[in-house]
């Protein structure tokens, strides 16, 4: 049986107008069971208005090989951060 299960990513929305956020994953045989399990595993203690499940295999991931080229290049460019710039004297309402 376990080899017939696949993994599903679970997204929850806490109120209308707010984006769904990723909360975890479940293993299930199909989408209907995945949705039920998501309800059982993640929604029991909070108030949610909506649930999504997405088959994990459909999530396109920036895998490990991209880590340096994609993300480390931002580390030494602190001038991209607002906090890099000193606040000129006399500026109000910032």
């Amino acid at each position: 049986m376990p080899n017939e299960l696949s993994t599903w990513e679970v997204f929850v929305r806490s109120q209308n107008g707010i984006a769904h956020r990723h909360i975890g994953s479940v293993q299930a045989s199909d989408s209907a069971m995945a949705l039920q399990y998501a309800r059982d595993v993640y929604t029991r203690r909070d108030n949610f208005v909506s649930l999504w499940v997405v088959a994990s295999e459909h999530v396109i991931s920036s895998a490990g090989q991209d880590l340096v080229a994609w993300f480390e290049t931002a580390h030494d460019k602190d001038y991209r951060q607002a906090t890099y710039y000193p606040v000129p004297q006399g500026v109000q309402h910032l």
């Binding site: 376990p2 299930a28 399990y37 309800r39 029991r44």
Partner: protein, 256 residues
């Protein structure tokens, strides 16, 4: 003679039937905690067990308050013997294999939903309020067990065989769910209780629909085993109670 038996009015007996059936099937489902096929199913069954335990507390609290002298929910859950329980026999059937549990749950949930829907418009406002709350939970329980019936019945050859076998075992206990004895009739006639006999065709239609999707066949001529609602139980209930009541009986008044 025990105080509980002396105090038994129709209403308190009716409430005990509701509370005891929910309590015993909850206790049974707790037996899966840590043993279900997957972690997700483990959580699901435990959630359902807790929902049913919560419902049982509400029924038993009301039952106890309607008795003279009044009893609290713990008196009723932990300090009664098997013959004083009023649960239907279906819920004391063993967990067996996973198919046995899901089939038992499916037959229970499909009946429970109809019962609670009917009771939500009871002329007794307290019963109506408890049933309205419980029905929301029961609706989900039924979705869960119905999904499993289809997957087991329409799954592998082995799961199909186990589910069909479970259905044949459990069907004998369905008759009692729709039996209307003197207490049921008395309360249904004044609008407090539910006329379950009238709802059986609706139940049968739903069950047949799910079973058709599952390639399962409802047994042709099940026996009607009954007696649970009057306190006539099998020794299976004794085993369930021994485990459920062990702590409360070994350490009277224990608290944490």
């Amino acid at each position: 003679m025990n105080t509980l038996e002396r105090a038994g009015t129709s209403l308190s007996n009716y409430l005990l039937r509701l509370g005891d059936s929910a309590l015993i099937i909850s206790q049974q489902l707790c037996g899966w905690c840590g043993h279900a096929p997957t972690l997700e199913e483990d959580v699901a069954l435990s959630n359902i067990a807790l929902d049913l335990l919560g419902q049982s507390r509400l029924w038993l609290e009301y039952a106890g308050a309607s008795m003279v002298p009044a009893q609290d929910e713990d008196d009723l859950a932990y300090r009664r013997d098997a013959h004083q329980f009023r649960n239907v026999l279906l819920v004391e059937q063993p967990n067996g294999n996973f198919a046995d549990t899901q089939v038992r749950q499916f037959l229970f949930d499909s009946w429970h939903c109809l019962l609670l829907t009917e009771l939500s418009s009871s002329t007794d406002t307290k019963i109506g309020a408890i049933a309205t709350k419980a029905r929301k939970e029961a609706t989900y329980h039924l979705q869960h067990s119905s999904q499993w019936i289809v997957r087991l019945g329409d799954g592998s050859a082995r799961s199909h065989r186990y589910a069909q076998r479970a259905l044949e075992l459990c069907a004998d206990y369905v008759g009692e769910l729709f039996e209307m004895d003197a207490i049921d009739l008395e309360l249904a006639n004044v609008g407090i209780g539910a006329d379950m006999a009238a709802l059986q065709p609706q139940w049968q239609a739903y069950v047949e629909q799910v079973l058709a999707a599952a390639n399962l066949v409802y047994p042709a001529n099940p026996i009607k085993r009954r007696g649970g609602k009057r306190g006539q139980h099998s020794e299976l209930l004794v085993g369930v109670l021994m485990e459920m009541q062990h702590l409360a009986r070994s350490y009277p008044g224990a608290q944490w």
